[in-house]
């Protein structure tokens, strides 16, 4: 099933994800070519959300693999359920011996296999969305072995044999750029750089997530955040922070930022996450920025 770019954009909007035209194109050619999509960008611009929205667009399962240093096969692919295997062996000892070959076949069967995200993703009857989150945290070895899976859609389990994909999952890989990814992996994937949304789109995102905010306040918040991002900050606030702030303002019954400059400054901690940054945005700076926001 291939979807056109516009259908995808509309369906994403329906589930509350406001995508730009480029991302919608990326998703549509992702189906066309059956390639994984590599998303790069600053933290908090909504990379993970893309996968979640994609899963609800297709009304399919989202399988998430969070990467971390030292992630290995047994946590990513599959593992045998050793405890159950042992129990089965002990149980068969007490019964009369019915041949060890038979027993071995039994304990290395589906029943004793523990699925981990990657194996689970290729064994679903309906294509799931596989989210491989923050792949730059995993070791390079893991990347290499992921590559094999992504190109052939199969993996071998020594005791069971080759497991071929029942359906090909939609793979979304995210990276924060803390480590350079291998060229091989990059080439295998479609690439999309997720930038901070422009004012208009950010306002629509706020409105989609927090309907109580109202169009005027959403636009004000988006403009304000846009200005704050231009300040010299250590940790530039992402979309998630914007939403937090909007929720805080709505919770405090603010309808116009200019009505309550004090509250605006006091709630800015939703956006600023380090001590230096909150030290840098003083009351004067806040009122200066607020003055520029129409």
């Amino acid at each position: 099933m291939t979807l056109t770019r516009d259908t995808i954009a509309i369906r994403l909007a329906e589930v509350g994800y406001i995508a730009d035209a480029d991302l919608a194109t990326a998703l549509s050619i992702m189906y066309l070519l059956q390639r994984p999509l590599l998303l790069e960008g600053e933290a908090g611009v909504g990379k993970t959300e893309v996968a979640k929205a994609l899963a609800s667009v297709h009304e399919t399962e989202l399988i998430r693999l969070q990467c971390y240093e030292g992630l290995d096969q047994s946590a990513a692919l599959y593992e045998w359920n050793y405890q159950r295997q042992l129990l089965a062996i002990e149980a068969s000892k007490s019964q009369q011996a019915d041949g060890t070959v038979d027993l071995e076949d039994r304990i290395f069967s589906e029943k004793y296999l523990l699925e981990r995200p990657l194996l689970a993703a290729i064994r679903r009857p309906r294509s799931p969305v596989l989210l491989i989150d923050e792949i730059d945290r995993a070791d390079e070895e893991f990347e290499a072995f992921l590559l094999e899976l992504l190109s052939d859609w199969q993996m071998s389990i020594p005791e069971l044999g080759l497991v071929k994909a029942v359906s090909i999952p939609h793979v979304v890989i995210t990276s924060n750029g803390t480590r350079e990814l291998s060229d091989a992996l990059r080439r295998r994937c479609l690439y999309h750089y997720v930038d901070f949304p422009e004012i208009d789109r950010e306002a629509r995102i706020i409105l989609a997530r927090i309907p109580h905010a109202g169009a005027a306040l959403s636009l004000q918040i988006a403009r304000m955040v846009e200005r704050v991002r231009k300040e010299d900050l250590r940790k530039v606030p992402g979309v998630a922070e914007t939403l937090d702030w909007a929720a805080a303002l709505v919770g405090l019954n603010i309808t116009d930022l200019h009505d309550a400059p004090e509250v605006v400054h006091d709630t800015l901690m939703c956006l600023l996450k380090t001590r230096e940054d909150s030290g840098r945005i003083t009351r004067e700076v806040t009122s200066r920025i607020l003055g520029k926001v129409a």
Partner: protein, 399 residues
Amino acid sequence: MSRVGAKAELDRAPTLLAERLAGFIRTLRASTFTVGLREGQDAAAILAAGYGDRPDLLRSAFKHLFSARKADWDKFDGIFDAFWLGRRVRSRVASSGTAADARNPSVKSMPKNSNAEPPRVSIDQIASDGGVKAEERTGEGRAEGASRTESLEEVDFRKLVDPTETAEAHAIAARLAHVMRTRLTRRDVARRRGYRLDLRRTIHRNISHGGVPIHLVKRNRKEKPLRLVILLDASGSMSLYTSAFLRFIHGVLDEFREAEAFLFHTRLAHVSDAMKEKDAARALDRLSVMAQGAGGGTRIGESLQTFNRWHAARVIHSRTCVMIISDGYETGDAAMLGREMEALARRCRRIVWLNPMLGWEGYSPEAAGIKAALPHVDLFAPANTLKSLAALEPYLARL
């Protein structure tokens, strides 16, 4: 090669389109995109699926397909527009004209064909390669006027070729690399000889014996290499020492499995690539080109800020030792240096500050810059020759 592949896929479609596509792929390759056979086929598939109807749609689709990193992503639009949206007849001529030899970088001819955005394409091309970028910078450096310091620097770097001294520098770097090489991580790996039993794996291994533990699997600490990042002050006041330390850096990049080197004076330059150059003469060429801005003064704080902002996330991880080699004479804002040092100290494992002046009699770190930086430094030590660096070995090994 991919031209053939794309063609095969596109037997039905007009051959003209296939040829244009092949020309475009060659253009991309010439601008350091990595485009393989698969990408050619997929591009043909995208065209066949009707994405070619609207230019903006096709541009967006190709952008995702051909880009592999942020640099590609940023320069793609310019290349696409120049190739596909430039004057049609002319660019067709260009692509079929260069069809004979794939080596011929057709992008070079593109700016002439399209007056839309010629400068953007050529600048982007330069920006894709760190080394060439520096050459572009030299242009400005030279325009600012060649001072006496600049020529001095060049002479110093040439001495790098002296085989005995280079060998000595490499030997010290090798020894250091050996003692500083590995650091333990918290995560264990399965080992034959380890300090504790891996119960889970032991059971797994012995399932075939009915669960009786005959083969034992043990765990041990996983070792990870320590990464060394060197920031070398190449300002005028350091000119006596720069050449010796450059030799050392050359050795470090050779011996350490993970190492990066930066040079700073009034600005910061990433020199790892230039220093890794196999051909010594070419390495020196590229280096002296980079150092030519030296002499005006040292803006350590600003250079560190550049480093923290643009390089730190990629270069520094939790097992990184940062080595700053500088005399600490800051011509910029000392408070800024303090702030940036604090930020750097939070990111990396250790900071070593080597100060050549410290070896002098009667010298004490009074300069405002170094006073601001000292609270964040783990090891502050003298180093004015390669030999004094070698003497530091036991201290550096403990870091």
